[in-house]
Symmetry: C2
C-alpha cells in the first residue's frame, strides 16, 4: 500500500482497515458532493461565528467619515448634488466588490421658484420676513433650498393673519373666529400631518397657511421644510412604478389633483412666527392654547387676530418630472437566493441632512464595509441580502414606493423582511418599531449589541430599563420608507433609530457639525444602530428557520381588541374579532410547536430542507393575510388593515379602517353609524382569518 | 462469516470484499434514510409506470354505475337529495381509504313557490300553459323542480306579449315597437347571458321576460332552467367565504340588490313559445330574424306583437339561506405536500343532471377509484392532489367561489393548477379550454389517451384532424367552476369535455336514459375524459419541474394584440402593449433555456431540489401577474385582465377591460373615448409586465 494513511487515523492500521476507511471517505465525499446542503447542517455554529465577526468589525471613524462626505452639500432629490450621492454610494458598494446597480424613475417633484413674505403694520410700515436660515459660515455655502412646502400650489395673497394653534378641528372651534380669506398661522405639534393641516385650513376657508415649529428654544431661525402631498409615491403614476415609457396621468386628472392642496402654504421659522403673532389684535389667545405655548412665546403671543396686521405672501413653485435613483447592492444567497432580506435607507435630504437621512446612509455604507469583510472570510449567506438606498423619500416615500409598486408581485413571495433606518441618530436613547412577529428577534439582537452611552451594558438592558421598558412602536405611520413595505406590500418590517424629535429637523442646521456637537459626538450611537441593523439582517438571512414569532402578533392583536372595546359603543359586536384573534393565537401556538419540532429534527441532522422551506413560506405569507385588496376606504393604496394611517391618529393608532369608520360616523345619521363600524370590524376579522389560514398553510 | 452475501454479488468473495460491501451498503442505507429525496432521482421512470397503470385501470362499467346512482333523483343545490349525493361522494372517497372531508357554507339560494302562465285570446278563451316537462314514466318520479329562473324577483303581470328575437340591443332596434309594460318573449342563442337578456328587457321597459330554447327539434317540451344573477358567488357574502358566523349583507344592501334583476322572468319550452308566438299580431317578423328561426317555427311565427293575445304571468319565488356542501378527497404529496393540484367538478343539478354535471361527477368518482389503485401499488405523488366536488354551481358557481374566496391567500402560492370537468360528456368530439401555459401538456396527454369513437387512434389525432385542428378554448367565460380559479385567483386551469350544446340542457330530460341512449351509449367518452383529466393531474403532481410553457402564452398574447390592432382606432397606441408582450416572450424564452438546463442537471443526478422549487415557484406565480387588484371596471371581483367576461363578447373575447372600454366608449364624447381605452391598454401592459417580472423572479 502506497497510500499514506490520513493523520486522523491511528498509526497501527491493517491494510483492511485502511482500505475500508478510504472507501468510506470516498463514499462520503461522493455524497457530500451530491448533497452540498449537508455541509451547513454540520456547522450549525458557523453563522454565529460570522455574527461575532460582524460585531467585532465596527468602527465609528469610518461612519463619521462617510457622514462628512455625504453632508458636504445639500442633496435634495432630483438635483445634481443628490445624483452625486447616488454615485458615491454606488462606487462605495462597487469598491467593496458588491454587485450593485441603480434603478431610476421619472417622477413628479416640486421646487420653489420665487417666494416672499412681508408684514404690514397698521402704521403703514412693513417688514420683509426671512424665507430661509441665515447663511452659516461653518457650512460650505448657502446653497440650501429656500423654505417651501413641496407640492404647494402657487399663489399670492395680501390679507390678515390669524393664529389657529395646531390647526385641528377643535382648534377652529375654540378659536370661534371666521378665518375665511385669512392666512392662518399654525404651530406644529397637534398630531396632524402637514397635508392635513393645510386641508383643514382650506376647509375653513383660509387663503393660505404658514406653519412654524416652536418645539425648541435654540434653533428658532430654522425653517422646517416638508411636502404637503396626500398619500405616498409619484402622484402621476399611482399604483405602478414610473419607469421609462410607462403611463403618466395628466396633472388635470382627478386622481392627481386630489393629492395636492388647493391653497398655498409655507414653513416659517419660530422667530418669523413671533414677529407676526406678536402684532395680532382681536381676541385673546384661548387659555387652553396658552398653557401649551413655548415658554418664549408665552410673553409674545397674546391675541389671535385676524389682523389688524396684514401679510403679503407669495409662493411660486413648479412641479416637474425629475429623475430619481435608487441604488442597490445585492449579496446573493447561496442556498435560497430567491428569498430576500432588504435593508433600506433614503439618501435624499431637504438640506445637508446629517441626521435626516445621512446618519442612516453612513450606517448603510459601514454595513456594506462590514459585510464585505464577512464575505472575504468565507461567509455565504443562506438567503439574498439587498442593501437599498432610496431617493425622494422627503417628497412622499417616492423612491421606495415606486420600487415596491414595480416589484410588488415578487415582494409578495420573495421578501423575507424589510429593515428600515431613516435618521439613524437624532440623539440618545434606542427606539424601534416593527411588525410584531419580529419583536423577539429585536430583543435577542439588542442583547448582543453594546450600549453606546453606558459601559458594560447592552442596548437591550438600557432600553428595557427605560420608561417604556422594551417598548416597540408599530409601523402604521407614513413617515418613512417602511410605509410602502408594510402598508402596501405586507412585508414584515423593522425601523431602528437612536434619539427622537431632534430640534434641527428639516432645517439648514441639520449638518455634520450639529451631529458632531449634539447628536452623536463619538459616533458610537451610529455604531450601535449599524450593529443592530446588520445583526437583524444576518439572523434573517442565515437562520435556516425564520426567526418569526406569531404569538407576539397574537398578543398585540388581543391588546388592540381590548383597547377597542373601551372605545366602542356597546351595540357594536366585537365577537367576530375576538374569535378570529383566538383562532390566530391558537394557530400561532401550533406553529410554535411545529417550529420546535422542526428545530429538533434539524439538530439531529435529518434532511429537512423542503420542510423548512414550506414552513418559512407560511411564516412569510402570514403578514400578507392582513392586507385587503380593497384597502382602506378613501385611501385604497393602503392595504394593511392592522397597521396604516388613520384619519385621526389621536383616537386609535391601529386598525385604521375601524378607526376611520368611528371618525366618519361622528356626523352621519345614527342608523348608519354602527353598520359601517361593524362592517369594518368584519373586514379586520377576515384579515385575521386570512393570516391564520396562511400561518396554518392548509386549505379548508 | 455467517452473513450470506446478497445474490447481487458474485459468489467468490473474500471476507474482505464482503465486509467492505456490507459497510458500503450500511453507509448507503444511512444516507438513503437521511436523504430520502435521492430515491426519486434514481427512478426517473417511476412516474411513467404509474401513468401506465392509471391508463390501464380504466372501466366504463364503473362509471356508468356511478352515473346511475347519482341520477336516481333530481339533486338541486340546497335540497336533501343533493346533500345525499354529497354523502355518497364522501362515502365513496372514504371507502377508497382517501382522506376526505366536507366544507359547508350558508348561502343565499332561490326557489320557486308558485307560478302560472296563461294565454288569453281575443275571443275570450284562455289556455293554461305548462310550467314543467311532462312526467316521464321511465324516470323515478316527477319530483323535478318547476321551471324557474333562480333569483328572479316575484311578480304578477297581465299584459301583451311581444317577440324580441334574441333580446340584443340591435334586436330591439330592428323590432321598432315599444315593449314598455309588455312581456317579452326571447329565444336563446344571441350570445347574451340570461341575466343580460333580462337586464336589456328591463332597460327597454318590459314588465317580464320569458325565454325559450328553439335549438333542437326533438325535446321541444323541455324548459331550460337557470339563474339570472349577475356575477358569481353568494350574493350576500361578496368577496369572502360565507362560513358559519361570517358577515352577511342585508338583502337591501345596494351591493346585493344590483346582483338581481328587477323584473320577473321564467323559462318556457319551445312548444309553449310556439303557442304564444303563433297567436301574435302586429308587424311581421323582420326578415333577418326569420331567416335564423328554427325550421319548425318558420311556419308558426309570423308576427311580433304586441298582442293582441294577452299573457297572465305570475312568479312567486323565495330567496333563502341554504347550506351547501363541497366534498374533498386529499392525497397528500410526499415531497412537496404544500403544492396542490386541484381537480374539480360540481355536483348539484337542476334536474337529474346526467350530463350536467353527473357525467363529470361519475368521472371524478372513477378517477378516485383509479388513484386508489395507484396508491395501493406504492404511488406517492410528489405534490398533493385534491379532488373537489362543488355544490351550487348552477346558482352562480357558488360552492367553488366561496371556497376560492375563503382560501385565496393559500391558493395564491400553493395551487399548481385547477383542472375542471363540468359536463364530462354531452356527445361526441373532444373539447378543451385552458390558460395557455398548459397547452402543450394537454397535447402531450391527449396523445396518450385512446379515442373513444375511433379504434387505434388517440384523442389527439382525431382532435387535431377536426375542423379547428387542435383548437384550445380560453377561460374568459363565466359558465363553470374554473371562473373563480382563473378570473379571481389566477390559478392556471384546464376545462375538459366531450360533445357540446346537448339538447336537453337544464331540462328534466337530462337523465341517465338520455346519456345511455344519446350521449355516450358505451361510456367510452367518459373513460376518455377521465383518462385525460387524471393524466393531466398525474403529470402536474409528479413532474419534478412543472410542465408549464410560457412561450405558448406569449404567442397567444401576440395573437390578441394583432386582433386588437385590427379593431382599434389608429389614434390608440398599442406600442406599450407590443413592447410588454415582446419582453414577456423574451423572458419565456430565457426560462425555456433555464428549464432545459435544469432538466439536464436533474438527469445527471445532481441535487437540485431547491433550485427546482424556486423555478416552479416562478412558473406558478406568473399567472398571478395577469391579475389586477382593482379588477375590471364595474365588476371588480374579476381580477384577470387577459381572461374574463367582457360586457359584449361578440366584439372581443380577450382583454375584457379593453373590450369593455371600447363598448363603453361608443356613446360617450369623442374626447374621452381614446383616453379610457388607452388607460385600459396601459393596465394590460402592466399586467403583462408583472407576469414577466414573476417569470424572471428578479427584483429590479
Amino acid at each position: 500500500m502506497t497510500i499514506k494513511p490520513l493523520n486522523l487515523i491511528t498509526t497501527k492500521l491493517s491494510p483492511l482497515t485502511t482500505m475500508v476507511s478510504i472507501l468510506i471517505l470516498i463514499i462520503l465525499a461522493f455524497y457530500s458532493f451530491h448533497f452540498p446542503h449537508s455541509h451547513s447542517l454540520k456547522h450549525p455554529n458557523k453563522s454565529t461565528t460570522f455574527q461575532s465577526l460582524f460585531l467585532s468589525s465596527s468602527s465609528n471613524s469610518t461612519i463619521s467619515s462617510y457622514l462628512r462626505t455625504l453632508t458636504m452639500h445639500p442633496h435634495l432629490a432630483g438635483t445634481k448634488p443628490n445624483s452625486n450621492t447616488a454615485l458615491f454610494v454606488l462606487n462605495h458598494f462597487t469598491s467593496l466588490n458588491l454587485k450593485s446597480h441603480t434603478t431610476s424613475y421619472n417622477v413628479l417633484l416640486s421646487y420653489p421658484l420665487h417666494s416672499s413674505l412681508s408684514l404690514h403694520l397698521t402704521n403703514g410700515s412693513f417688514i420683509n420676513l426671512p424665507l430661509t436660515e441665515p447663511s452659516e459660515p461653518s457650512e460650505p455655502g448657502s446653497d440650501v433650498v429656500h423654505a417651501y412646502h413641496a407640492y404647494s400650489p402657487s399663489g399670492s395673497v395680501y390679507t390678515k393673519a390669524v393664529f389657529v394653534n395646531y390647526g385641528r378641528d377643535k382648534d377652529y372651534e375654540t378659536l370661534g373666529v371666521d378665518v375665511k380669506g385669512c392666512i392662518v398661522i399654525v404651530r406644529k405639534g397637534g398630531g396632524l400631518g402637514r397635508n392635513t393641516v393645510v386641508e383643514k385650513a382650506e376647509k375653513n376657508g383660509a387663503a393660505a397657511v404658514l406653519i412654524y415649529n416652536d418645539e425648541n428654544d435654540t434653533w428658532r431661525n430654522g425653517f422646517e421644510r416638508g411636502n404637503v402631498m396626500k398619500g405616498v409615491g409619484d402622484p402621476v403614476s399611482p399604483g405602478w412604478g414610473s419607469v421609462d415609457g410607462s403611463e403618466r396621468l395628466s396633472l388635470e386628472d382627478n386622481e392627481v389633483l386630489e393629492r395636492f392642496p388647493k391653497i398655498p402654504s409655507m414653513p416659517i421659522s419660530a422667530n418669523v412666527a413671533d414677529a407676526i403673532l406678536s402684532s395680532l389684535g382681536g381676541n385673546l389667545v384661548p387659555f387652553e392654547w396658552r398653557d401649551t405655548l413655548n415658554l418664549k412665546d408665552k410673553g409674545v403671543i397674546s391675541h389671535v387676530g385676524p389682523g389688524p396686521t396684514m401679510l403679503n405672501f407669495t409662493y411660486l413653485g413648479e412641479k416637474k418630472i425629475a429623475t430619481i435613483q435608487n441604488v442597490f447592492a445585492v449579496i446573493k444567497g447561496s442556498e435560497e437566493p430567491d428569498r430576500h432580506v432588504l435593508l433600506g435607507n433614503h439618501r435624499d435630504a431637504w438640506t445637508y441632512g446629517a441626521v435626516d437621512p445621512s446618519s442612516g446612509t453612513a450606517a448603510l455604507l459601514d454595513l456594506a464595509r462590514r459585510y464585505s469583510i464577512l464575505l472575504s472570510s468565507g461567509w455565504k449567506p443562506r438567503r439574498t441580502i439587498v442593501l437599498c438606498s432610496w431617493d425622494a423619500e422627503e417628497f412622499g416615500m417616492i423612491g421606495s414606493t415606486e420600487w415596491v409598486e414595480q416589484n410588488l408581485i415578487n415582494l409578495g413571495s420573495k421578501a423575507v423582511a424589510y429593515l428600515n433606518v431613516d435618521c439613524a441618530v437624532q440623539g440618545p436613547g434606542f427606539f424601534v418599531g416593527s411588525t410584531p412577529q419580529l419583536d423577539n428577534l429585536i430583543r435577542e439582537v439588542t442583547r448582543k449589541v453594546k450600549d453606546p452611552d453606558s459601559k458594560g451594558v447592552s442596548v437591550y438592558e438600557t432600553w428595557a430599563a427605560s420608561d417604556g421598558e422594551d417598548n416597540i412602536q408599530r409601523l402604521g405611520r407614513v413617515d418613512s420608507d417602511f410605509a410602502p413595505f408594510v402598508q402596501h406590500a405586507g412585508v414584515p418590517s423593522v425601523d431602528v433609530y437612536y434619539g427622537k424629535d431632534f430640534p434641527v429637523y428639516h432645517t439648514a442646521f441639520d449638518s455634520y457639525n450639529w451631529m458632531a456637537e449634539y447628536g452623536d459626538p463619538f459616533f458610537q450611537r451610529h455604531v450601535a444602530v449599524t450593529g443592530i441593523w446588520g445583526l437583524l439582517a444576518l439572523r434573517l438571512a442565515d437562520d435556516s428557520i425564520l426567526p418569526f414569532d406569531y404569538l407576539s402578533y397574537a398578543n398585540e392583536l388581543q391588546l388592540y381588541r381590548d383597547k377597542l372595546s373601551n372605545v366602542l359603543d356597546q351595540k357594536i359586536s366585537l365577537l367576530p374579532l375576538t374569535t378570529s384573534i383566538k383562532e390566530f393565537a391558537l394557530a400561532a401556538k401550533e406553529v410554535d410547536g411545529e417550529l420546535k419540532e422542526l428545530r429538533l429534527v434539524e439538530t439531529s441532522g435529518q434532511f429537512v430542507d423542503m420542510k423548512r422551506r414550506a414552513m418559512n413560506d407560511r411564516l412569510m405569507l402570514t403578514e400578507k393575510g392582513f392586507l385587503d385588496g380593497d384597502g382602506l376606504k378613501g385611501k385604497q393604496w393602503f392595504k394593511h388593515l392592522v397597521f396604516g394611517p388613520p384619519n385621526d391618529a389621536e383616537k386609535l393608532d391601529f386598525f385604521p379602517g375601524i378607526a376611520d369608520s368611528t371618525t366618519r360616523s361622528s356626523g352621519t345619521s345614527e342608523k348608519e353609524t354602527p353598520t359601517e363600524i361593524q362592517h369594518e370590524i368584519w373586514r379586520v376579522t377576515r384579515a385575521i382569518q386570512r393570516a391564520t389560514s396562511a400561518l396554518r398553510g392548509e386549505f379548508t
